[in-house]
Symmetry: C2
Subunit: 129 residues, 2 copies
């Protein structure tokens, strides 16, 4: 696949998501964590304000959403635009790297959404053993 | 994308990964959970025995690996083949649905492995604010 990053000195090192010490494993665990993944999926539909995200991601608390957004912003996946107005207006959007990650998550969600009948059948079979 | 499941009556229902009550959200949380996702990635490289998986997925305990495999088998993503020999030999492999999910996870891991330098830079910038 295409690199989402300009080639640089560090790009010659091999990243390995299986290695505990690798940033990619930490980042993988970050983007696949419960709320972060759903926030990325929501932002894949376009920029959202905080309250819009809270409604879109069913069940997320204010605290967990704020924590997920901070982590995603720190990893450079999400940008935060404060309009500086009163009342305050803050928009959250994906960065180009965030777009690449969100696309991968959306593909995965599509596979699973299409697989719901197969998964339901597999569970019935497994539980009947 | 192509459906991984034969069309059936249930296929006409719309699955929504954002909906708390949807099987796809539960399955999404399942396959993206820490150990399950790494187990799927490992099995994407070919069938593995239990001990091989333990070594490939750095840091997983015997208990967490067994739990992840049971969940993936129940969802129809992983199959378990017991050779019935003494000493026992059990091979774990992806089902066709598991292959589809593992491919999605591998694409995502590729994006993140390539993004390590960008993520490292973003963190330094964020922490320096």
């Amino acid at each position: 696949m295409d690199s989402v990053d300009a080639p640089g000195p560090a790009a010659s090192l091999v990243s390995d998501v299986f290695a505990r010490a690798c940033t990619s494993r930490e980042a993988f665990e970050g983007v696949t964590s419960r709320w972060s993944s759903l926030v990325l999926l929501a932002l894949g539909e376009g920029p959202h304000r905080f309250g819009e995200l809270r409604r879109r991601v069913e069940g997320v608390s204010e605290r967990m959403l704020a924590q997920a957004l901070r982590g995603l912003e720190r990893d450079g996946l999400v940008s935060r635009a404060d309009a500086g107005t009163i009342p305050p207006r803050v928009d959250y959007a994906l960065t180009p790297l965030g777009e690449a990650v969100a696309t991968g998550l959306r593909d995965l969600a599509d596979v699973l959404e299409a697989a719901v009948p197969a998964i339901d059948r597999a569970r019935v079979d497994y539980d009947a053993r």
